[in-house]
Symmetry: D2
Subunit: 340 residues, 4 copies
């Protein structure tokens, strides 16, 4: 870290900062500028609470230098990670092949799920999404089918071979969800539910970690670090739009996060254009853009009857729209030397 002293800070104040640095077991380098003095701290201060230093008299601000995450960092692992979902060797995210995960927002019933699962499988998906436990803003809204929904997902996997990607919302659900799922999804609202991160970190199944509604990339990678630090290295980062002042979309899909995350981390990056826009008429275009931007995977909401969808009807595309989108992104994938 770099400790920037206030203009007019006294030598005693600088001395006191130096002392605090040494207390931490670190070394200092004091640089007296024309207008300000700065104290450069030498050594691994990654896990020190720098806000305490900001409270010291004479200190203007403290600038961190080291990235606070390690295992998620590209500095630790240069080659890109590939995550295998379920048992189908083609169901990977992070390699040349772009992994497509599709399905309904919520599992609603057997007919609905199987119909959609068969349709997305036919057009090239390798993973099946579908929520059995639903995080709903409103306590009176449909909260998901629970275990019955998980059973239907397992049935759909059996019939189609698709890997099951489904959300786990709480520590005490992990054991149950792990029995049915191939990939544990941690939702945006739980990105900083640290107990849950630890719990999925203790599992040995891949985790699809969604970016929080207003998470910075650093916070996002630190959430991944929580999971990895417990021994589970199979983490996929999912950009799903952030909250901004924009009102024509549900969320602002920040596609520059794709190359930025790939630069900072070796973990594969998936994009969710459904949540990322909230509008079915923007999904196709954003799927195209995601592939061109270098995404390693897509997760897309598909519903056979959006008008009657119990959740997220407005952002679900139909199986026909999914088929057409898949054709389009196959061409784009080829143009960027990838495959779908």
């Amino acid at each position: 870290m770099i400790v920037v002293m206030k203009q007019g800070s006294t030598p005693q104040q600088v001395e006191h900062v130096v002392q605090l640095v040494r207390e931490m077991g670190l070394k200092e380098n004091v640089i007296v500028g024309e207008e300000r003095t700065v104290v450069a701290v030498i050594g691994n201060d990654r896990f020190k609470d720098r806000t305490a230093m900001e409270s010291v008299a004479g200190v203007e601000k403290v600038v961190p230098i080291l990235a606070p995450y390690k295992m998620a960092s590209r500095e630790i692992k240069k080659e890109r990670s590939v995550v295998q979902m379920g048992s189908d060797p083609l169901a990977t995210v992070g390699g040349k092949k772009i992994g497509i995960i599709a399905g309904p927002c919520s599992v609603e019933n057997k007919t609905q799920l199987l119909e959609i699962a068969h349709a997305v499988k036919e057009h090239g998906a390798v993973g099946l999404r579908g929520g059995a436990f639903k995080p709903r803003t409103n306590p009176y809204s449909f909260q998901g089918m629970g275990e019955k929904g998980l059973e239907l997902l397992a049935l759909a996997r059996q019939e189609t071979g698709l890997a099951v990607v489904t959300e786990v919302m709480a520590v005490d659900q992990v054991e149950l969800v792990v029995k049915y799922a191939d990939v544990l999804q941690v939702g945006a609202r739980n990105m900083q539910n640290f107990n849950l991160l630890n719990a999925v970190g203790d599992q040995r199944k891949p985790v699809l970690l969604k970016r929080g509604l207003s998470a910075t990339l650093e916070e996002f990678l630190l959430a991944a670090e929580y999971i990895m630090s417990r021994g589970n290295h199979q983490v996929m980062l999912c950009e799903r739009g952030i909250r901004t002042y924009e009102e024509y979309v549900r969320n602002t899909l920040a596609l520059a996060a794709v190359p930025a995350l790939q630069r900072a981390s070796h973990l594969p990056v998936v994009v969710d254009p459904s949540q990322g826009t909230g509008k079915n008429y923007l999904v196709d275009s954003m799927c195209r853009a995601s592939v061109a931007a270098g995404a390693d995977g897509l997760i897309i909401e598909v519903h056979n009857d959006p008008e009657h969808a119990l959740t997220d009807g407005a952002q679900s595309i139909t199986p026909e729209q999914f088929a057409s989108m898949m054709k389009a992104i196959k061409r784009i994938a080829a143009a960027v030397d990838r495959e779908v």
Copy 2:
């Protein structure tokens, strides 16, 4: 809800919308304007998923009319709610008296906690804050003392009479925390941890619910509704700053939320100027402003040695600064016909 049709939508499309409205058990009123047709839906559509309607052909957008929350709403209960914290009859939030909760960010050890507790008690606090379970962005940071911290909080209560306000981070911690705490705090990062909301809703102890980092007021009130719908009506809403592009503060304290929440809800509103700014030198001013704006309570981080605080040193004020701030807000409280 109001369904706004696209310009050029067909009579068949309007008819189809009408049909869907009736399917929901609601009535419609079709208004043919000069440029657009709108379908006004009559009846309680509060818990219908309106996004499905947005997916219907010919529909431009759907505008909700009814607030989606009920029990938290001022329309249900006109008089303001008062929350009693612990057994001291003066430790209330929501009445004429403004309830002051103060203490360290984290419980660090016995000496630290007791010293701070005595100091804040002496200067007028009625509640003691202090985290035993800490939600930390970084997995390698200090995670709190756990149960040992709760024991110290109980000891501090015994010595000072202060009500204990402490965070519960997970469903499986609720039982433990309830044994020690007078008020269960749900942190900003857990505002939409719905399982946790349900779990504290099943308790009969007051809940201090912090606003999520980028939560709208409606989402905030719906989180309160989760708790209330389980039978626990003792909810305090805590404005703690929102995430914006501003970089000179940790969060942007949105003080207009105080009167806006009081207008929409009968629940008391507490302000956290420590989290709400992240800078100790802004805390005093924002405490003053909060009281003038009509806040029912304040929650403030106080540390006897901020330079060595394990967490949040930069935003902690010292006991001396706390004493001086309390004097200032007593005068302001009197000027707005309140008391501290």
Copy 3:
């Protein structure tokens, strides 16, 4: 507009609203719901100030129904507009061909400009960007070469045939800039400089209108409407990133704005991935994504010596990087049935 009355509003209050509606020369339709009454206003209220209605006793809120812009709207003109830049028939934006505008942030000297102009021309650009008048956050920073810079741009056009795209910052500069430029650029900070919008609207040269730092799409289209309402219909909309809490980028490039603007308006949409990210290492990826998303044009900062660039070095790519990017987007353009 729809006027939503408060719960418990009186019949007199509703009657008063009706009266105000009729005063405006409009008609009303009063809908008495189970919980609330709403007054649907019939007629063209597009240019009425609806905030006055929000101040009326008993009114909860007012919801606009009609889009407030006309000439920029797709409802008025279904087919997409094509803007011709300068005299080269290939220099168009809005047709099948994607128009590429490239060049330095600022015109610095003759050698720099000509070297860059020749390079971008060679690799497929049809427009040359370069600022002679520079809007700088800091009054002490380089403010541009002024007319001397415009002369160099004209020279570069003469040598390369590229259309000149350059910024005009003030009403009293318009006359001068029009003499040299093929396209008048209005910068993000001037998107709501209404006097300037009127002034370029009075010209008959194409305008590249940049989206304001925190402009909504509606405000963006209304800025275009200012220009068009003065008779200048040759407007290109330029998405250049918005301000959000994200800190790893200078701006958050909101690519969903491309299809959303194309849906709402017939005007062509250009993307600026240089301003839109602020980082040279993100430009290539965002150029690819923009083309895949359906952008009609790109505007890109290219510098032959970024280390010594007087402005925006961090987001400028080199001619070599430009050449490589152009190759990449040609393939993607083909994959979405466009051309570069």
Copy 4:
């Protein structure tokens, strides 16, 4: 500035950075850490474009150390500035007395303006606001009365003694507005209209500079610096809310900006709770909070007939509400040792 090198940067890259620093006429101090090397730059680099340095190979990021503004800075002038508006010695902003500016959003006609002016004067205002040139989002909306409006403002000053505060939107309006106004207002949408800033900087009348919709405090102070660097030191900074994701307000009033600006600058700080919330029912509370937070002045929209206001009816309070608010803030001002 501090240049942070990438992990694994080569000694040649560091050497190259050092060379570039020396080219700028500055000195360097190279600090080799355990994981990273940083180059601390010594000397006044305030006006160097640091983004060029960010483009250099091996550089991770560049951290500025010096504040980029000078004349607006508290480091240059410790004592707080007081701005005199017009000729009434009581009409000051920045001293013990809090200056209250009130009046309609727009000048609409003589009766309206005089009635409001007399009312606000009677209840303690020292300045009269009122727009003659109106920056309107929509080209078809009322654009203000122009010079006729300025004449009415001058008439109101003559009748009441209030100082006239009115907006100037364009360089070519400055001469005209200066003839009538006591204070030149620069609106939020023009905060970075640098030509306008220069033009008002060339005048010798006080300027009320509104914060841009998404301006950082640094950008805000640099806009003030533009004006001051031309010789006009009478600048008042006006916090008027920023754009955030919040939807229940028009803008989010960021009151912590008051103490933060006063800490960074000697210039007085005025708050606009009308624009800052957009809702008349939030204005009273935010006026109170502003005074408690330490604001040096308030600017408030007052209308005698909000239902028929041509602009901003929803956020205008009535003369009666103004009178009641003034009583309230007098008590709060006394409680913070200020006066109204």
